[in-house]
């Protein structure tokens, strides 16, 4: 499926509003002003691994996963590349992140921290989508993992991963450049419904 310019613009604006809300909450929590960049949106196919790697690379990401169902069904992720996750951890906890697995306790706490930041981001975006489109969804409990994006998408199930909407955004917290991405993974039918709801608003 392809999205036209207006549809991509609408999705970008929905993400923009969601990220803005998330930034506001993070700003209150950290006591720092957060500057944002304009989100960049791509639509890629969940089965085209080359395309996924071209847009997102093969590196591991810290990922918070949120399943949703209702008017449309799919999986949302907020993901941070390892470097941004490390910067966030260092800024919030003062710890050097542990990548070799020798500091299990530190890793649990770091995962917990990243899970909340990812949760705030993804909730902002999903809240924005459902609010503006006037839909109600049911959600799973968020979960955390560290994996390459292709593996994350695989988990979504073969009939649910036809379309991956990738929104790339940057937040500048205390002069630190944090890169975050939102993935919305949906089957063809669900994406159709989402787009239809966007069109209804505009008509």
């Amino acid at each position: 499926m392809n999205l036209n310019k207006n549809e991509l613009d609408a999705l970008r604006e929905l993400v923009n509003i969601g990220v803005g809300k998330a930034a506001g909450i993070l700003s209150e929590m950290t006591g720092s002003k957060i500057d944002l960049s304009i989100p960049v949106i791509h639509l890629i196919s969940g089965d085209q691994y080359q395309e996924i790697e071209a847009v997102l690379g093969g590196e591991r990401y810290s990922a918070v996963r949120l399943g949703f169902e209702g008017a449309f069904t799919g999986t949302a992720f907020s993901i941070f590349p390892a470097k941004s996750a490390d910067i966030l951890i260092a800024a919030i906890t003062g710890d050097e992140p542990d990548h070799c697995g020798s500091l299990t306790h530190f890793h649990s706490i770091h995962a917990e921290t990243l899970m909340e930041v990812g949760n705030i981001l993804i909730n902002g975006v999903m809240g924005s989508i459902t609010n503006i489109l006037g839909t109600r969804l049911i959600y799973t409990l968020p979960s955390y993992s560290e994996q390459a994006v292709a593996r994350l998408i695989e988990e979504a199930g073969s009939d649910q991963r036809e379309n991956v909407i990738v929104a790339q955004t940057r937040m500048f917290i205390q002069n630190l450049n944090i890169e975050g991405k939102i993935l919305l993974i949906m089957g063809g039918e669900s994406l159709d419904i989402l787009i239809k709801k966007i069109q209804e608003i505009q008509d």
Binding site: N6, R12, I17, G20, G24, L36
Partner: protein, 123 residues
């Protein structure tokens, strides 16, 4: 008829705002960034400006600074996804008359507009 200039890089957002405003009888003109808007202001002389902050080319903060320098006294409502207090304060310091967060509802936007119009106008 009251003319309102909507400045936002998102056509989706401009459509939503335009629909709200035209249903209240306002005339709308649109620009997708601050630089284009400055040209339209000279031509159309809008009564009120609604501006987003995060835009390419000339963003909302740069736009507010530019109209201040040009001594343009048209009231400006900032309508943004950025809900931080520091952003609000900065916009007010730069002369914004009002600061609203997206997504805004008609029952927030319309009263904000009416407050900025002379009594009797735009009702």
């Amino acid at each position: 008829m009251t003319t309102i200039l909507i400045i936002d890089d998102s056509s989706f957002q401009r459509t939503i705002i335009r629909k709200t405003l035209t249903s209240e009888g306002y005339r709308c003109i649109e620009a997708d960034n601050g630089r284009v808007a400055l040209g339209l202001i000279a031509e159309e002389q809008p009564d009120i400006i609604i501006v987003d902050l995060l835009m390419p080319d000339m963003d909302g903060i740069e736009f507010l600074t530019a109209i201040r320098e040009k001594k343009i006294s048209i009231p400006v409502i900032v309508l943004t996804s950025d809900i931080q207090d520091a952003t609000r304060e900065k916009c007010i310091q730069l002369g914004a008359s009002s600061f609203l967060n997206k997504p805004t509802r008609a029952d927030e936007l319309i009263p904000a507009i009416r407050l900025l119009l002379p009594p009797g106008e735009g009702e």
